[in-house]
């Protein structure tokens, strides 16, 4: 008995229960499975789509970041991310806020997927290998384009690196800026021969042949602009493209654009006789033929954003709302319906001169009315108001409010309308499901027009430009100039994350943005006259924009420089060249 007890105890003590330690994590899939199972590999590729950040500001509160940086619009409050990003002076220490983008993790995933597909000896079928590789290459090129337009030449990595590689291979140098653009062009040429023209409605949102060519069209336009307009350089072409290459790039942009225009099933959306309504529908009728590539949203599948919620004007909102005051200077870029310039005489914006709202606002370009709310814009069966005060006795029968809901007049006196779905009443945060359009035909026409212009094909350029204007309900131009092309592009693609990058590639951002404080209007309604007075006011929150020559390239930043001695900083920043 004695011995038995002691023996039992000794055994228990000596053998702690080791088998209880055989636990596996509950949400893990093995590497082996992913290299064998097409569904898992596709799920991994889907993760890359999911992480690209198609909208630069994300899908909630910072959506407008590029429009604010580009001087198109402001946000409702000065502490919001987009305004802070636009006003912060970018240097090598402070990362460029919401403008920063360094998706090498996601690029690595594309490289891994391509490698898995190439090395697979377990028999993914050839079609699958071709298709998925092409999608991965599209995504990779898209991310490299987002990098090169920010930083200039960047390390171009096309295979997944291994930690066992020699140091000199791991510390990749920045490729010349031109080489990155060439890479994008070659890749898109290649995969545009593999990818299908469309997937039907089932897989809308995957990369197509036309998405690949659209990326090429845009990238080549940027490369050509930099060659033509930029004189910032780093040794070995890390930034800067020789001017001699400009023509080739214009040509490439032109060719890719024309191929889409001539051969793709995509066309300018033109289903509604009312040009204003027609233009507005491009952005809310998901998957229409104008859209070449989009990030798909769907409320019932729980993928949503907050566009309607953020930008719905006061009086029609449940919560935030009115978050997109438009600068007066941007309003002026919209011509009048008859084609005359949209500028106002600022001497009259003194609070004394009476204006008829129809003749100064409602009579503008139909795209203006589809993109921007101004006083008395008809909306959801009612009217959006902007006046901060009414002068004279209001006839109570008229239903005229003595002043507009507060959020509408607080800032610039205009609000963003584009892409808001009029049929959504009282929108709720993160319940919006309009797709985010990445490439559409309007841009392709304008890319082609711009490229044609610099290729001295003025006639063709004019035709392309007028195609856009005709769809918009605007009279034809009779000639093309650099200024006309740029203004048309600014107006047609407003608030679609183009203008800021355009100012940069045209190298006009210093002139357009540096030291600037943009403006808004204080509207006062004169009831007896049924007219408004307009008074100029600041559209900013007390800060002044800074855009210096060096900001045409964002800094890589001291952290990235410190962890790779082979990187050089961009010109003008500490540790930078020149």
């Amino acid at each position: 008995m004695k011995k038995l007890i002691i023996i039992i105890f000794t055994v228990i003590l000596a053998l702690p229960a080791c088998d209880v330690l055989d636990i596996k994590p509950t949400n893990m899939i093995s590497e082996q499975d992913v290299t064998n199972d097409p569904a898992l590999l596709d799920a991994y590729l889907t993760n890359v789509y999911n992480n690209v950040r198609w909208q630069s500001g994300g899908r909630s509160n910072n959506m407008a970041v590029l429009a604010v940086c580009g001087g198109e619009m402001n946000v409702f409050a000065g502490w919001q991310g987009p305004y802070r990003t636009a006003m912060t002076i970018i240097d090598e220490n402070g990362a460029p806020g919401l403008l920063d983008y360094w998706p090498y993790g996601n690029i690595r995933s594309t490289n891994e997927i391509i490698q898995i597909l190439q090395n697979s000896d377990t028999g993914f079928d050839e079609e699958f290998v071709q298709q998925k590789s092409a999608e991965a290459r599209f995504l990779r090129a898209f991310m490299y384009f987002e990098l090169v337009k920010r930083y200039g030449g960047i390390p171009l990595i096309t295979e997944p690196q291994s930690i066992d590689q020699p140091i000199e291979e791991l510390y990749v140098k920045r490729a010349p800026e031109a080489e990155v653009y060439d890479f994008i062009a070659n890749e898109m040429d290649d995969i545009s021969r593999i990818l299908p023209s469309s997937y039907g409605t089932d897989d809308f949102g995957r990369a197509t042949k036309w998405a690949a060519l659209a990326l090429k069209s845009r990238a080549m336009l940027y490369a050509a602009s930099i060659a033509q307009f930029s004189d910032i350089t780093l040794p070995e072409g890390v930034v800067g493209i020789p001017q001699s290459k400009a023509q080739d790039y214009w040509q490439a942009a032109y060719d890719a654009s024309m191929e889409i225009i001539n051969e793709s099933p995509h066309a300018l959306y033109n289903h509604n006789p009312d040009p204003q309504k027609n233009y507005a529908e491009i952005f809310v009728k998901d998957g229409n033929e104008e859209v070449i590539f989009a990030e798909v949203y769907n409320l019932s599948l729980l993928k949503t954003h907050s566009w309607n919620f953020l930008y719905m004007p006061d009086g029609f909102r449940t919560g935030w709302g009115s978050n997109g005051p438009i600068y007066l200077e941007f309003v002026e870029k919209y011509e009048y319906k008859n084609g005359s310039p949209g500028n106002l005489n600022w001497n009259d914006l003194n609070g004394n001169v009476l204006f008829d709202i129809d003749s100064i606002m409602a009579d503008r370009d139909p795209r203006f009315r589809a993109s921007i709310f101004y006083p008395e814009t008809p909306w959801q069966g009612s009217v959006v108001y902007f006046h901060s005060k009414t002068v004279g006795t209001i006839d109570s029968e008229s239903g005229w409010p003595s002043k507009a809901p507060a959020r509408n007049y607080k800032k610039s006196g205009f609000l963003l309308r584009k892409r808001i779905n009029e049929y959504v009443k009282l929108p709720i945060s993160m319940e919006d499901e309009t797709d985010w359009i990445v490439f559409r035909m309007g841009e392709i026409y304008l890319n082609a027009a711009e490229a044609a212009f610099y290729l001295n094909k003025s006639g063709e350029s004019l035709d392309l430009l007028n195609a856009i204007r005709e769809r918009a309900g605007m009279p034809d131009k009779t000639e093309v100039t650099e200024e006309i092309i740029r203004n048309e592009r600014t107006v047609e693609l407003a608030f679609e994350e183009h203008h800021y990058w355009d100012l940069r590639r045209w190298r006009t951002a210093v002139q357009e943005l540096n030291g600037k404080g943009f403006h808004g209007i204080s509207w006062v309604y004169n009831f007896p006259e049924h007219k408004y007075t307009m008074k100029l006011k600041s559209g900013e929150y007390g800060d002044v924009r800074t855009f210096q020559e060096k900001h045409y390239y964002l800094p890589l930043g001291i952290d990235r420089l410190a962890d790779n001695p082979n990187l050089v900083e961009n010109p003008g920043y500490t540790n930078g060249g020149e």
Binding site: I5, L13, A14, P16, A17, C18, V20, L21, I23, K24, P25, M28, I29, V34, A43, Y44, T46, N47, Y49, N50, A77, G78, W79, W102, Y104, G105, N106, R108, S109, P155, I157, Q161, I163, Y199, G200, D202, D203, F204, V296, N298, L299, L301, L302, K303, G319, W320, S396, W400, S402, Y409, L426, S429, G542, D543, V544, Q548, R560, A562, D563, N564
Partner: protein
């Protein structure tokens, strides 16, 4: 209250059968018990050793005891005195003089898996006894530890019911392991009345807990019954609470004045019928032309002095066969929100039973149950504070036209007052319960003296059930001037959405333990040893279901909500560890003490080849005071003990299956067409060799007591080296590699510090008083760390951390303000990197420390230590006179940073309403012929008001907004009165104490202009916190 009565009867039901015991009679012994000075001691227990037979002394210290047999030993014991044993054989009268236990050397101290007498403890162990824990009221045990243990860093940053626990941190190490009767738990899950003692293992003494013990261990031991006379205790408190500090916001006129000053038009922020006249600097109500006064939203939200109560009823006692401790407690906390819809209730039930089955075989059965219920309106405090700080004083809190409509507060759809009501925002009910049980069998082997075997199974089941029903409510502004003659309601949006979720989880922990113990004395050699094997498994699972569009709030159930957009989620966790633990404790004449421990731990989260870790410790103590050269020459030294210890510990709460590579499934979907496609992502590169952090800790200590406790001290100094800290090996791959390298056990950090406790205790006639100050300092450094090193020495100075303190906070050094535009124009330093073109009068001026003509990161300097206080201090003082006791606990901290940010720092940031202090201290900028200048140059301390809070220039991290803080607060003031025994003994009451106690009454700090609005224990001040509470409590304790 109804629930409390139910609980009370349940306890009685358990108690009744245990209360009976037998008596006999033969010999009568009488006597008097006195203290050292000859004063009679009432209430001393006089018992036959190891039995239930006995009595207590009366008011005059006299007792009378009748025995059936006088061949016994009588045991005289009284709290605070050394127990004395006297043989009764042949005695008729035994008079006893009890020695005060001034030094507490005979006290038992719980250490890892065992107990030791305080005099033989060789590690650095802080203790808190039950007496200290029930002296003052607190909802949480953690709060009671503030200021009582040297080296314990404490911070209470919120007084919100259910979230008002104090964070505990031993010597700045990190979150400690808390063991409650051997099961890992949270110290706040236990009723303070149930606690016998709390031990804080600060050095190698924690090593016996191995891979979890790296940050020190707090051991909580619950009360058990004794074979003494049965006792029933009641402890009840009734408290009134109010927040310590609340930010004081400006009223309507000052608000308008500041808005105007910032360049904004107050009319754009006011209701339609309120007008601001910039010339008169007044707000006018245009309805009647009178001056507009405005409303105080903060005042409307709070009630003063809210009631809280706590009750505990427990009973203990037993026979020599069976002993019990049973207890039931109830805590009821309400918030200071006027809605009353924010309550926390907690119930604790415990029963600890020990039974002797045979002479050698005993069994213990413990059971405890705890349930905490948070029941509140559907809002988070921080969200509500966010709304409160933007509530404009020109909008009424309640609209008299229709008080049932939620009012607009001037910004968005926010309605901070109505939000706090369940009827408007919906509700959250969060119930957390845990059930613990343990059965222990112990067998003393009769054939080997001192050898015993023990088997124990502990079990814990935790449950959580949370329901969140979110109700949208419309927010309205009343405009008495609008078109209709009676005014008009303006819809200002909807707060909240119509949705709900239910979350529930359960966790099961099983902890079987087997031990073999040996303890015996051989002459002057005392030896104790044990070997334990312990296995712990945890299995947890949770389930959450979400739906939208609840049909009716009368039936807030998932099944009555819409099918569209419904969502659910299951979560799982599993963990397991297994351990072998051994200890050998040896002493010679209680003079030379040696203690070895060794623990081997294996955890499932590590790869099989590096799963086992070994954690040894050794400690030694030398009681110099027991040496004859001291004892023979002086009787001034009661105790003098030198302690040395070294141990190796681990911290395994740092990784979860990092040794496996593969892919994780995301809860996200990406959509193509109209189909959600699943997403998997790479878990990253794996580290097949990953293991836990390991620590080496060294401690040297000296304990002393002189002149019978008149003066004493305990001093400890420690050094801890923390190795194998997981870090990304940054040097090996650049940011373009695209995957973070697996975390590897690379970095080293250390901590060092000193804890000092001084004791002074004296008796002057009937007065007894004590003063125990304590102070501790601790700080850590980076010893060896993976980081980028550049060629630029300034970069290295600023960013390289190796060899530096680990809590340095960097910022710019300010040098006053720019007083005129001319001063900006002539400023030799480029402060904004654009030639000072963005600077304005009144902006902060920064020092160009490196004198390179520009202000950039190179000019940042260390402006203090962030995070936890490096310095903690307290003074515990007490005075006793007859039945009256007055005690005070002052507690404070220093050498840490309080940062003012957000609306606390700057008016109008995030649309907030400025504070009174902003109004009082702001610079006022005016424009003169020479440009802008500051109009109140001698009176201001803050930059001028801007539209947007702080500008780029003024919001830089700097010594301007960060305070190297010290505070001292009267944590507790306690006045108690024990009714004289002669008054109460007739009523069958042994002890009856009334007390009046106040916490956080007074705070002294160095927060400058912010000191009247913010609590120094809340570190990241942004004005969005529910601060700790000031409480005044009436308490009563009695013992039958």
């Amino acid at each position: 209250m109804k629930k409390f009565i139910q609980v009370f009867f349940m306890v009685l039901l358990v108690l009744t059968p245990l209360l009976a015991y037998a008596q006999g009679q033969k010999v009568t012994i009488t006597g008097t018990v006195t203290d050292n000075s000859g004063e009679p001691l009432p209430g001393v227990s006089v018992f036959v050793k190891d039995t239930q037979i006995g009595t207590v002394t009366d008011v005059n210290g006299k007792y009378s005891l009748t025995l059936t047999n006088d061949d016994v030993i009588l045991d005289f014991s009284f709290i605070g005195f050394l127990t004395k044993e006297v043989s009764a054989k042949g005695q008729k009268e035994i008079n006893v003089k009890l020695e005060e236990d001034v030094v507490g050397l005979e006290e038992t101290v719980v250490v890892g898996y065992s107990k030791q007498k305080k005099k033989t403890v060789s590690g650095s162990v802080g203790t808190v006894t039950s007496k200290e824990l029930i002296q003052r009221p607190a909802a949480n045990t953690s709060e009671l530890l503030q200021g009582l243990v040297p080296g314990l860093v404490t911070r209470q940053s919120s007084g919100l019911p259910g979230a008002d626990n104090t964070t505990l941190n031993i010597r700045g190490f990190g979150s400690p392991l808390v063991m409650i009767d051997g099961i890992q738990g949270s110290i706040d899950q236990i009723d303070p009345n149930d606690i016998e003692s709390v031990s804080v293992l600060k050095d190698a003494s924690a090593a016996i807990y191995g891979a979890r013990a790296g940050n020190g261990v707090i051991l909580v031991t619950t009360k058990r019954g004794s074979n003494k006379k049965s006792k029933i205790n009641y402890n009840g408190t009734f408290s009134f609470t109010q927040p310590t500090f609340l930010p004081d916001r400006v009223g309507a006129h000052k608000w308008a004045e500041m808005l105007h000053e910032s360049g904004l038009d107050p009319n754009n922020y006011s209701p339609h019928y309120v007008e601001y006249d910039p010339d008169q600097n007044t707000l006018t109500n245009i309805l009647d032309g009178s001056e507009y006064k405005g409303y105080d939203w903060s005042e409307a939200l709070y009630k003063d002095w809210v009631f809280q109560q706590q009750h505990n009823l427990n009973a203990s006692g037993g026979t020599d066969k069976i002993r019990y401790f049973v207890s039931a407690g109830y805590t009821d906390q309400q918030s200071n929100f006027k809605s009353g819809d924010y309550d926390y209730n907690r119930y604790n039930i415990r029963s600890n039973i020990d039974a002797k089955i045979t002479k050698d075989f005993s069994i213990s059965v413990d059971f405890s149950y705890r349930k905490g219920i948070l029941d509140k309106a559907n809002f988070s405090a921080s969200d509500m504070y966010n709304s409160l700080q933007t509530a404009k004083p020109v909008y009424p809190v309640i609209n008299e036209a229709d008080p049932t409509r939620a009012t607009y507060s001037g910004f968005l759809q926010r309605s901070p007052y109505y939000q706090t009501f369940k009827d408007y925002s919906g509700f959250i009910k969060d119930e957390k319960a845990s059930l613990q049980g343990a059965i222990q069998l112990k067998y003393d082997l009769p054939w080997v003296k001192g050898l015993s075997l023990k088997a124990k199974l502990s079990y814990e089941e935790t449950f959580r059930w949370l329901k969140n029903v979110s109700k949208p409510f419309d927010v309205w502004e009343w405009d008495p001037t609008e078109s209709t003659p009676d005014g008009e309601w303006i819809f200002q949006g909807t707060q909240g959405t119509n949705k709900m979720y239910v979350y529930s989880s359960k966790g099961t922990e099983l902890l079987p333990l087997f031990s073999i113990e040996y303890g015996r004395s051989f002459g002057s050699h005392n030896l104790r040893a044990f070997l334990i094997s312990e296995t712990q498994t945890y299995d947890g699972t949770s389930l959450r279901g979400d739906r939208k569009d609840i049909l009716s709030y009368e039936s807030p159930y998932l099944r009555y909500a819409s099918e569209e957009g419904k969502d659910n989620y299951e979560g799982t966790t599993e963990s397991a560890r297994t351990s072998l633990i051994g200890r050998i404790n040896y002493d010679y004449k209680r003079k030379y003490i040696l203690d070895f421990t060794l623990r081997a731990d294996a955890s499932a989260e590590y790869p099989p080849n590096s799963r086992w870790g070994y954690f040894p410790s050794i400690s030694a103590a030398w009681r110099i005071s027991n040496e004859s050269f001291i004892q023979d020459n002086s009787n001034a030294i009661d105790n003098l003990k030198l302690r040395l210890s070294f141990g190796m510990l681990g911290n395994d709460a740092v990784s979860s299956f990092d040794y496996l590579s593969g892919y994780n499934i995301s809860t996200n979907f990406y959509i193509f067409g109209a189909t959600p496609y699943p997403v998997i992502y790479s878990a990253g590169l794996a580290n097949p060799d990953i293991t836990w952090e390991s620590m080496k800790i060294y401690n040297v200590g000296l304990d002393a007591s002189f002149w019978r406790g008149l003066f004493g001290f305990e001093i400890d100094a420690f050094y801890r080296l923390r190795e194998n800290i997981l870090a990304q090996p940054t040097e090996q791959v650049p940011s373009t590699f695209g995957a973070s390298l697996p975390r590897t056990n690379l970095n080293k950090r250390d901590n060092r510090g000193v804890d000092v406790l001084l004791r002074h205790r004296n008796r002057i006639g009937q007065f007894v008083y004590h003063v125990n100050p304590m102070i501790s300092w601790a700080r850590g450094k980076y010893v060896d760390i993976q980081e980028e090193v550049s060629d630029d020495p300034e970069w290295n100075y600023r960013y390289v951390r190796e060899g530096q303190w680990d809590d340095r906070q960097w910022g710019y050094l300010t040098d006053g303000f720019f007083m005129t535009q001319e001063e900006i124009n002539n400023h030799p330093v480029d402060q904004d990197l654009t030639g000072n073109t963005t600077l304005k009068v009144g902006d902060l001026k920064y020092k160009d420390v490196n004198e390179d003509g520009v202000i950039d990161w190179r000019d940042q300097r260390v402006i203090g230590a962030s995070g936890l206080p490096n310095l903690m201090y307290s003074i515990d003082m007490g005075l006793e006179f007859k039945g009256i006791q007055l005690s005070m606990l002052w507690q404070g901290a220093g050498m840490y940073m309080v940062n003012f940010s957000g609306s606390a720092a700057a008016p109008f940031s995030n649309e907030s309403i400025p504070l009174e202090l902003h109004y009082k201290y702001r610079a006022i900028v005016e424009t003169g012929p020479d440009g802008d200048y500051i109009a109140n140059p001698d009176e201001f301390e803050l930059p001028p008001v801007t539209q947007n809070g702080r500008t780029n220039n003024n919001s830089k991290a700097s010594d301007f907004w960060s305070y190297d803080t010290h505070y001292l607060r009267l944590k507790n003031l306690n006045l108690s009165y024990s009714l004289p025994r002669r008054v109460i003994s007739g009523a069958g009451i042994n002890d009856c104490v009334f007390y009046l106690s106040a916490t956080n009454l007074l705070t002294i700090d160095n927060l400058g202009i912010w000191k009247h609005d913010f609590d120094p224990e809340v570190v990241g001040q942004n004005g969005r916190d529910y601060p700790p509470l000031k409480t005044v409590t009436l308490g009563i304790r009695f013992t039958f």
